[in-house]
């Protein structure tokens, strides 16, 4: 570096100090670095680096990332299966519950209709206008209902008593009635 020389007196100290104090660094445009790197790549002086974010990852980090990914995948599969199983069970259960409700509703509706029909039959019988065929059909259905009740509730006393009462005569009468009744 320089030392004072005879020419120094030509520069006032303040100006000399100002020149020495001028900024020594300045940032060029942001694109210059990429421009320069590209020129160096094209001339083969620099090899293109892998994309940032991957090249600086240490192997241990990569291993950990892979293990974490596998664990995440496995837990995802397990949770998915559990969720799927739970959903299926819920659907089956819901369908079953719906079927039970529908069956019970059907029993109630047809049973009510059966009782109302018997009520009308009884009223006509009281007036001496009842058709014997109606009575036979009613008895046959009553026994059939009692037969199903015995299957549902084997210890039910009413159903058992119905089934135990003169089954042959009732069956024959019901068979005849079945042949004469137009089912709808």
């Amino acid at each position: 570096m320089n030392t004072p020389d005879p020419h120094d007196d030509e520069l006032p100290p303040a100006l000399r100090q100002a020149l020495r104090g001028l900024p020594r660094e300045r940032q060029p445009g942001r694109l210059l670095e990429e421009r320069t790197v590209r020129a160096l790549r094209e001339s083969g002086l620099v090899q293109a680096a892998p994309p940032r974010g991957i090249r600086r990852l240490p192997m241990a980090w990569l291993g950990g990332a892979v293990a974490a990914s596998v664990a995440l995948f496995a837990s995802g599969v397990a949770v998915g299966q559990w969720m799927g199983g739970r959903t299926t069970a819920q659907v089956v259960s819901a369908v079953q519950a719906r079927n039970d409700q529908q069956t019970a509703l059907l029993v109630q509706q047809t049973g009510t209709a059966y009782i109302q029909a018997l009520h009308q039959l009884a009223a006509r019988d009281s007036a001496g206008a009842a058709d014997p065929q109606g009575r036979e059909v009613a008895t046959h259905l009553f026994r059939a209902a009692a037969g199903q009740m015995v299957r549902i509730a084997p210890n039910d006393a009413v159903a058992g008593a119905v089934m135990a009462s003169n089954p042959r005569q009732d069956t024959a009468a019901a068979h005849r009635a079945h042949q004469q009744v137009l089912w709808f």
């Binding site: 570096m1 030509e10 020149l19 020594r24 060029p28 670095e33 790197v37 083969g44 002086l45 090899q47």
Partner: protein, 187 residues
């Protein structure tokens, strides 16, 4: 406050660049040295930023090409600045702006109107100097080179460097003188 030494030396980075073409190593060197190089070159070319960026890019290409020949007897930044000076001179020569040594009867630059007050700032005054004057003055008074170093870098005699500096300083002082003083002198 002391600046901390970089974790990886310039020489290690240069070696990685030279042996493997390591882009990361180049970018690190670029980040460390370009601001200094750019400011220096910008003054030499008279403040034209586009020219200065071209010079910086060409400087890095030449430096990377010649990395194997650098013997690390000087600092990497000093070596880089020397290449930058040569590239800047080449550019100025192509543009017909390089004159050194300047003739003794070279007309001094005319003083532009001051933007504010009655002074122009030093950077603007430097940019107005003839190229040869400016180069010697920047190397000596701003960068702190000796006349022998300047002579060696510019391929001129040390005496020529001194005389050019003398002319450059006189021209700079004229440019920086307040208008009022100039008016008195003319009166």
């Amino acid at each position: 406050m002391r600046a901390e030494a970089p974790a990886v030396s310039d020489q290690s980075l240069a070696q990685a660049l030279l042996l493997r073409g390591d882009e990361d190593a180049f970018r690190e060197l670029y980040t460390r040295h370009t601001p200094r190089l750019f400011q220096f070159v910008l003054r030499i070319v008279g403040g034209a930023e586009h020219d200065a960026e071209d010079v910086v890019q060409e400087t890095w290409i030449r430096a990377t090409s010649a990395l194997a020949t650098f013997r690390w007897e000087a600092a990497f930044g000093t070596w880089l600045t020397g290449i930058g000076l040569n590239v800047a001179r080449s550019l100025l020569r192509r543009q017909g702006r390089w004159e050194l040594p300047m003739e003794a009867d070279t007309p001094e630059p005319s003083r532009p109107p001051a933007a504010d007050g009655d002074r122009i700032d030093i950077e603007r005054a430097l940019a107005l100097l003839p190229t040869g004057y400016r180069t010697v003055l920047v190397l000596y008074d701003v960068e702190g080179y000796t006349h022998d170093e300047i002579a060696e870098r510019l391929g001129i005699a040390p005496g020529t460097s001194k005389s050019q500096l003398s002319h450059a300083r006189r021209a700079l002082r004229r440019l920086l003188e307040p208008h009022t003083q100039e008016a008195h002198e003319h009166a």
